[in-house]
């Protein structure tokens, strides 16, 4: 439960559970309408969870395009969210595939389901995992090569002037009410940032936090604050993550850093969240080569951030983003698929 998504996602569990298993949404184009009459669909019908954040949405559409056009599956995209979708997969075996599952949120029941053989982990969709921490803009890192760690940045309150507290530096924190508000608040204490002349600014909402980054970037102003990836913001605005200088200590994290009532937090790095593709047992058995594809398919932050930045700049949908990716990066996706599937897919782009 460490990444920002989860605190908001978990709450809507029951509601979206209904949505996840009741409202299939046809995939775009031929994906929804496989060649009529042909029963040459070796992998059959497959439902793919289309999670409601950008990176997962574009990955779901990439999977939908590749599975339908490359492997002849009959793909349906269903809207989803971490907890409800994975719960539905555990309980009902539907949808078949969660392309980008942030498994920390449902670690225990998921591991149990995997042990019982009802669900399976396929590829780590993001091998680098989800990352979070304190970031500065790249132009600032270039101008101040001495700032590499959080401690380095905290030596320079003058460099990050707080708009509403004269003579202090500002750290833009996590939006109100998100889990990360607690971890960032504890980090602020652990690094003793107050004594070092900093204030923690509550941006109130993710939109306002994004707005503050965009504002700083448009005017090339300094900015220091909390962010997470992969996100389109990190693709659009090159940012450098400050090194925490200490490793992640899971025990201390659970006992103190992630707790509101933690009185004396110690410095602790944010963990990398595991981001995997999860499939149902039914699909693993029936999917054949299509399952092999899901078992290989993974991409790195750089690719995802750049793709999402393109989507944001064009204000494109997940489907547009997926098509753009397949058109521009064949050298990457061809390593995921069989040569036949690659040929079929290439022919239809």
């Amino acid at each position: 439960m460490s990444l920002p998504h989860f605190s908001i996602l978990a709450g809507a569990a029951a509601l979206a559970l209904l949505a996840a298993c009741s409202k299939p949404e046809p995939a775009t184009g031929p994906a929804a309408a496989p060649a009529a009459g042909t029963q040459a669909t070796p992998c059959g019908r497959v439902t793919v969870a289309n999670m409601n954040w950008q990176s997962a949405e574009v990955l779901a559409h990439v999977d939908a395009l590749i599975l339908s056009k490359g492997y002849g599956c009959e793909v349906e995209l269903v809207p989803g969210d971490t907890v409800p979708t994975l719960t539905a997969m555990m309980e009902k075996g539907q949808p078949d595939v969660a392309p980008e599952a942030w498994v920390n949120a449902v670690r225990e029941p998921l591991d149990a389901a995997v042990k019982q053989g009802r669900l399976h982990y396929a590829a780590n969709a993001l091998p680098e995992g989800g990352i979070e921490g304190l970031w500065i803009p790249k132009y600032l890192a270039d101008a101040h090569p001495e700032i590499k760690t959080i401690d380095d940045a905290l030596k320079r309150p003058d460099l990050f002037p707080a708009p509403e507290a004269k003579g202090k530096g500002a750290i833009y924190g996590c939006p109100s009410g998100w889990t990360c508000q607690i971890t960032v608040g504890n980090a602020f204490k652990a690094w003793d940032a107050k004594a070092k002349g900093f204030v923690l600014v509550d941006p109130g909402s993710a939109a306002a936090l994004d707005g503050s980054i965009a504002k700083a970037y448009e005017r090339q102003q300094p900015w220091l604050g909390y962010y997470w990836g992969p996100t389109s913001i990190l693709g659009r605005y090159a940012m450098v993550k400050l090194d925490a200088g200490v490793p992640h200590d899971p025990a201390a994290w659970e006992n103190c850093n992630a707790k509101l009532e933690c009185l004396q937090p110690a410095k602790n790095d944010w963990a990398r969240a595991q981001v995997s593709t999860v499939v149902t047992d039914r699909f693993k058995q029936a999917g054949g080569p299509a399952f092999d594809y899901l078992n290989k398919r993974s991409w790195n932050h750089q690719t995802v951030n750049t793709l999402m930045a393109w989507m944001s700049a064009q204000q494109a949908s997940g489907a547009d983003g997926a098509r753009h990716f397949l058109k521009t990066q064949p050298e990457l996706w061809k390593t995921w698929v069989t040569p036949e599937a690659a040929a079929k897919l290439q022919a239809q782009l």
Binding site: E164, S176, G177, Q181, V201, G204, A207, A208, R219
Partner: protein, 296 residues
């Protein structure tokens, strides 16, 4: 038969995308060019707001309670209202919401002040010029109905997050009643009285100052009262762009299902709202007592 299709002949995807990108791009260029200047222009307002906030949050609490009670007495001359004010403030303090409440009171106070300084002259000007009225009315409609986040994020890109953009959002949302009620109040003043004043040789300014405004005051007060209420309603929204005060704990409570925390802070907002409402209404009624009964 093209008209009988369900699909509306919308502009092409490319045109719409180009339009969106162009407008977004122009706005970004504008923020690059003028953002810093605008930010500097609002600095005095920010400093004023910070000063008021500092006064309220750093003064000893009994003093703040006494001053607010005295203000309530001066405006309402009612022991019941003063007692209610003091009890509400003490309850809020007892439940550990003093600092946040004072920040909110500072914000609402300054927002109301700005709304009055801008709204009263606009309302007066509107009552004198039908053309201005035709321009201002639709603008007020937009201000009251445009979803707040639509302009909140552009404001953040111009001015950053914090009190000033929050204040601007609150004023945009809360100013229409002052303008509308001032305009209405002045319009409703009996024409005979104005003619009488003119016959006695009153100048335009004298007629406004000594006849129209006093007679319109109860209506204007109703507008001010509405403005304060709307400003308070914006507290939670404003905290979404980093305005400190009671809105932040409410936001935190909403996203974590902390029911008690949400309820307590929500009730604190209600408490201040009732104080402001009763005091300003009582003040409005007192103003009315000295006036001749409206003829009907």
């Amino acid at each position: 038969m093209a008209l009988l299709q369900p699909d509306f002949p919308a502009l092409s995807e490319e045109t719409l995308a180009a339009l969106r990108l162009h407008i977004d791009g122009s706005f970004r260029a504008f923020t690059r060019e003028h953002g810093a200047t605008l930010e500097r222009a609002f600095e005095p307002l920010r400093d004023f707001l910070l000063l008021i906030e500092k006064l309220l949050t750093q003064a000893p609490w009994p003093l703040v309670v006494a001053v607010l009670a005295a203000l309530a007495w001066a405006a309402s001359r009612s022991w019941r209202i003063v007692l209610g004010t003091v009890l509400t403030l003490l309850t809020i303090g007892l439940f550990g919401m003093w600092q946040d409440t004072m920040k909110t009171v500072a914000m609402i106070g300054v927002a109301t002040l700005v709304a009055l300084l801008l709204g009263l002259p606009i309302g007066i000007a509107m009552s004198r010029s039908p053309r201005l009225q035709a321009i201002v009315n639709p603008v007020l409609d937009v201000m009251q109905t445009l979803p707040i986040f639509v302009y909140l994020i552009p404001v953040v890109m111009l001015l950053g997050i914090g009190r000033v953009p929050g204040l601007i959002a609150v004023v945009i949302y809360a100013i229409p009643p002052v303008i509308r009620f001032t305009h209405l109040g002045l319009r409703l003043v009996d024409k005979d009285l104005l003619e009488a004043a003119e016959a006695f040789g009153g100048s335009k300014w004298q007629r406004l100052r000594h006849v129209q405004l006093p007679l319109a005051l109860p209506t204007v007060m109703a507008g001010i009262n509405q403005t304060i209420m709307l400003a308070l309603a914006m507290v939670v929204i404003a905290s979404m762009i980093g305005v400190q005060g009671l809105g932040q704990p409410v936001l935190r409570a909403i996203s974590n299902q902390y029911f008690t925390m949400g309820l307590l802070n929500g009730l604190a907002i209600v408490g201040i709202a009732i104080i402001f409402d009763r005091v300003s209404q009582a003040y409005g009624r007192r103003l009315q007592q000295h006036l001749p009964r409206p003829r009907g």
